[in-house]
Symmetry: C2
Subunit: 295 residues, 2 copies
Amino acid sequence: MLISVPATSANLGPGFDTLGLALDLRNVVRIKRSKFFSISIKGEGANNPRIKGNNMFISIFNEHYRKLTGHMDKFRFTFINKIPLSRGLGSSSAVIVSAIAAAYAMAGVHISKERLLNLALGYEPHPDNIAPAVMGGFTVSAVEAHRVHSLKKAMPPSLQAVIAIPNRPISTHHSRSKLPKRYTTSDVVYNVSRSSLLTAAFFSERWDMLRVASKDRLHQDVRMRALPELFELQRIALDNGALMSTLSGSGSTFFSMTYKEHAHALAHLLKEKFPAYRIKILDFDNEGLVVDERG
Amino acid sequence: MLISVPATSANLGPGFDTLGLALDLRNVVRIKRSKFFSISIKGEGANNPRIKGNNMFISIFNEHYRKLTGHMDKFRFTFINKIPLSRGLGSSSAVIVSAIAAAYAMAGVHISKERLLNLALGYEPHPDNIAPAVMGGFTVSAVEAHRVHSLKKAMPPSLQAVIAIPNRPISTHHSRSKLPKRYTTSDVVYNVSRSSLLTAAFFSERWDMLRVASKDRLHQDVRMRALPELFELQRIALDNGALMSTLSGSGSTFFSMTYKEHAHALAHLLKEKFPAYRIKILDFDNEGLVVDERG
């Protein structure tokens, strides 16, 4: 059994806890029945013994597998991780989504993507990463009575993401604690209008609208202050072909979107200016979670 | 010269100062050069001498006509008003938009709809009524540096609006003063997510999403408390075929949207339960402002 889930950029611009996008950068896990329990991790997190010992994937997988089958079996898990950890690219969401999907697949129980999304919400209270991780594409989500309501727009191949991954994380806890507890009507309208306009721009492919529509007043600047060079990165991106350029999740990764023909020049420039960062050009992903039973 | 502008429902659900829709209910003004200045008003406002004496249309028209031509001429204005006044159906926006358009038309100067929208913003600080009044359809708008950025989705003929117009207004001043000055993060996310999801639902014609996506926590309940029977009206509408049912603008009109085949039954029921209200079934308008030089 082969399960793969894409990286995601969420909190997209003004779309706090709402808007997300799936990126063509996948974590893959291979699961086989075995006489002994074993884990091997390749790629991101491979050298971190804590991840092997206290593994979120295994605990979520076990919880669901036991619930579905009434017993426990032994498996060999092989993780091939490409999504960087703690950088705002949805690595936790990928783990949650793939662990639940894997438990259902190994138990031989069908689960719809919609139901999977609602189960994943039990582990991550915001839907903006899990929705694109499950569905792919650009997603708009709201939570009502512990259920995710989500709509998806597939991304066209003419666009790419230029991802700048800093050499250190922004502590989610640290930056969330710095966010205001209350917002003025003017800031609320600022974000309600831009998040809605950004949604309309994606759904109608009016990329010329992204620059204005992707601005935020709720969280981004506060978080960027923990890593102030990101302001310069954003300015450089917007001056050099980026249709929009926003913090990915709660950071520290910065997400810029360009027409395909502008991606290389922007990536090159960012590598030059931020030599300690990893810069990646990625296609968008429109599939989301993939379960391959023959894998 | 014949100028007509549709009624509009704005502040749509969670889309505070952002989302609006044009309705097929038009104010028409006919303008002819004449030896004497004269005004005649038919329909809404016809019996209100204040509207004739201190006419917003005339003062905006004069301001722009004088600016464009460098002098003043005399005209005969005939208003045929169908949009109820002070009921949250965009009557002021219709006046502003048609007055500016009329001044340009009578001066023989072309004006784009985009430019017209930005001029109209000088008279009405929120774009959510003027955008659908000018463009028609469902519109999503944000203001950046005194410019309106707006995207439109045409409405399909399979849907209709059922409009309930109370016999009295909600004072905008009164109800705006009762609104909170600040909002919690949870309420902000509630509206950001729903306004974005509502936008996605309109753009992708996923009408099944409207019910959840049209909920609001910023202003609607506070305003409805000034006319508490609206809570019952909303409940009845949602229980009887309405895909969504929200305050129109800042009220007092209530806007419900249904599939065409359900509109009559809902209108009938609302007439029965609210005999003092005017109940109208309206198509949506996808044209917005129309200038007919041969009229």
